[in-house]
């Protein structure tokens, strides 16, 4: 369970988060949505402890994130930001292997390499394992970064717009693998993901937090938040939502 309480944060004198209170349930995928510049990424960075709030607390399973040691955090949650490391010669396998670093801190064990291999296979990266990052396409590289975060096998996984600029097949592969992670019996994982594509949110998210102007606009199960009036008010434009047979909805802009 992630509990966010009255989070406030200013960057360079401009208030970005103006008192966000939200809670994220212990199952499935939580999507964070909102207009450009509403503070979604800042919110996720603050929840993941990369930014320190001026006021307010973030508790994950009762631990105050900002009071935790970095080494302990890395075993509780993984975060993938949009600013990705640029190390051209690094191979995919090496990158994903970094995900195990919080556990071995420089001395990988047999178990670590098994997990790395499983993660590579899960994201269809087995054939690319020895390829340097700069020879990959954008979609392949993004998959490698997500695989690195997954290799951390943490109970929580935070992803900041991981699907921007990916084609439908790759987006679907990644989302279905993420969903499978949340349903995994052995180390089930709760995922918090910033998404721009409302259709993907409607289709895949279990819980939605909508942020507008640095405050919580809506926080609830996907079916509750993804409604005509709420989405239209959130984005200040006409958005219509059509119910589908499977209980999910289709979004028409």
């Amino acid at each position: 369970m992630i509990q966010v309480d009255k989070l406030r944060l200013s960057l360079g004198g401009t208030p970005i988060l103006k008192g966000i209170t939200a809670s994220m349930p212990d199952t499935g995928i939580t999507a964070i949505i909102g207009p450009n510049g509403s503070g979604k990424s800042t919110f996720l960075h603050t929840v993941a402890g990369l930014l320190t709030p001026d006021i307010g607390t973030v508790r994950i399973e009762g631990h105050d994130v900002h009071a935790m040691a970095l080494a302990d955090r890395a075993k509780l949650f993984a975060i993938l930001t949009q600013s990705q490391p640029h190390l051209p010669r690094l191979t995919v396998a090496d990158l994903v292997a970094f995900g195990r670093w919080p556990y071995h801190r420089g001395r990988p064990s047999e178990e670590d390499s098994v997990i790395v291999q499983q993660t590579l296979d899960r994201f269809e990266l087995g054939a690319l394992a020895r390829a340097p990052l700069d020879t990959l396409s954008g979609g392949q590289r993004q998959r490698a970064y997500i695989a690195m975060a997954c290799a951390q096998t943490t109970p929580y996984l935070f992803l900041d717009e991981p699907l921007s600029a990916l084609d439908p097949r790759i987006s679907k592969l990644i989302l279905s693998q993420l969903l499978a992670l949340t349903r995994d019996k052995r180390h089930s994982c709760r995922i918090v993901i910033v998404l721009h594509d409302l259709q993907l949110v409607a289709q895949w998210a279990d819980h939605v937090i909508a942020i507008k102007d640095g405050v919580t606009f809506a926080d609830g199960p996907a079916a509750e938040v993804m409604q005509n009036t709420r989405l239209s008010a959130l984005y200040e434009t006409e958005i219509s939502v059509r119910p589908q047979d499977d209980g999910r909805v289709a979004i028409l802009l």
Binding site: A48, L70, A74, A78, P85, R89, F98, W101, G106, Q152
Partner: protein
């Protein structure tokens, strides 16, 4: 492949060392040998220190373009040295025990460098332009202050400082070798010990922090190490700006890995081989003594331009 390349680098280093020692050996052999051995030790230490310092610095600065020299580490060292001569007086400075003076200078440089560059690199090296500009301006400021202080010095004191200001391989200060080698060995051991953390730090601040590395504190530690290494090489021969760039670039080209456990020894060995082979060719074969620094700075400067221009396109 990485192992064989490291081994062949070591072999190359040993070969040049032996060549340097025994080429054209004349009587009195023991005297000349001990003279050459001192110089050999100094060259290897300077080359290794510069190469390793540059690789370390490039990792935390997140760029393959910079060296500690370019952003003003050695300007800082010479400034501190001038300040020391100014406050103690020429006689006071010269009568300082070599061991104590060198340790004190190194310690001061470490503190000053961590304070200055820690501010620039504290929140991660997100802005390369800012680092370069701050470093260059800082370098100009320090050199300006240094030359101002040198004007206040009387001529005999000035001569002492001047000795430290220009890179000369012809005259190496032998009494500093012992303490320099101790600092260098400790720094190298520390760098190797940090190697797995350096691999993670190379990913950048946010990724490294999310993998559980206390990045901000780690950067300060690496800066201290860089300062110690720069102090060793600057104290022995004076400032050389681009040798490190050559050594680090060649190390990255030769070792196709991100692992610092391999990159650090490689850049150290390459730095030493460049200096040693250059000095050997110029001093022994061509019999010209003063041009090695010029050639190294010229080639390194060219490489710097190539790197900058290739980055643009």
């Amino acid at each position: 492949m990485i192992k064989t390349r490291l081994l062949s680098l070591t072999a190359l280093l040993v070969a040049f060392s032996i060549l340097f020692l025994v080429w054209n050996l004349r009587q009195p052999i023991p005297f000349i040998l001990s003279l050459r051995a001192e110089k050999l030790a100094a060259l290897i230490m300077v080359g290794a220190a510069t190469g390793i310092a540059t690789t370390l610095f490039q990792t935390i600065a997140q760029t393959r373009l910079l060296t500690p020299g370019i952003v003003g580490f050695d300007a800082l060292f010479i400034f501190l040295q001038t300040l020391l001569v100014l406050t103690l007086g020429g006689v006071g400075y010269v009568t300082l025990p070599a061991f104590g003076a060198f340790l004190m200078e190194t310690a001061t440089l470490i503190v000053a460098a961590v304070a200055l560059f820690g501010i620039i690199l504290r929140k991660g090296a997100s802005d390369l332009v800012r680092i370069v500009l701050t470093g260059v301006i800082l370098g100009i400021l320090l050199r300006g202050l240094t030359s101002f202080f040198q004007r206040i010095l009387d001529p005999s004191e000035f001569a002492i400082v001047q000795q430290a200001m220009f890179a000369t391989f012809a005259s190496v200060e032998a009494d500093q070798l012992a303490v320099a080698s101790i600092i260098l060995i400790c720094a190298f051991a520390a760098a190797l010990w940090m190697a797995p953390k350096l691999d993670v730090a190379a990913l950048g601040r946010d990724p490294a922090r999310s993998l559980g590395l206390n990045y901000d504190r780690f950067v300060l530690g690496v800066l201290a190490l860089v300062a110690a290494l720069v102090a060793v090489s600057t104290a022995l021969v004076g400032p050389i700006t681009f040798l490190g760039l050559l050594a680090a670039s060649l190390a990255h080209a030769l070792i196709p890995s991100h692992r610092h456990a391999a990159l650090l020894p490689a850049s150290g060995a390459i730095g030493a081989v460049i200096l040693l082979s250059g000095q050997f060719i110029f001093e022994r074969v061509l019999s010209v003594t003063s041009t090695l620094t010029v050639i190294i700075e010229f080639l390194g400067g060219l490489l710097f331009l190539v790197l900058v221009l290739r980055r643009r396109t």
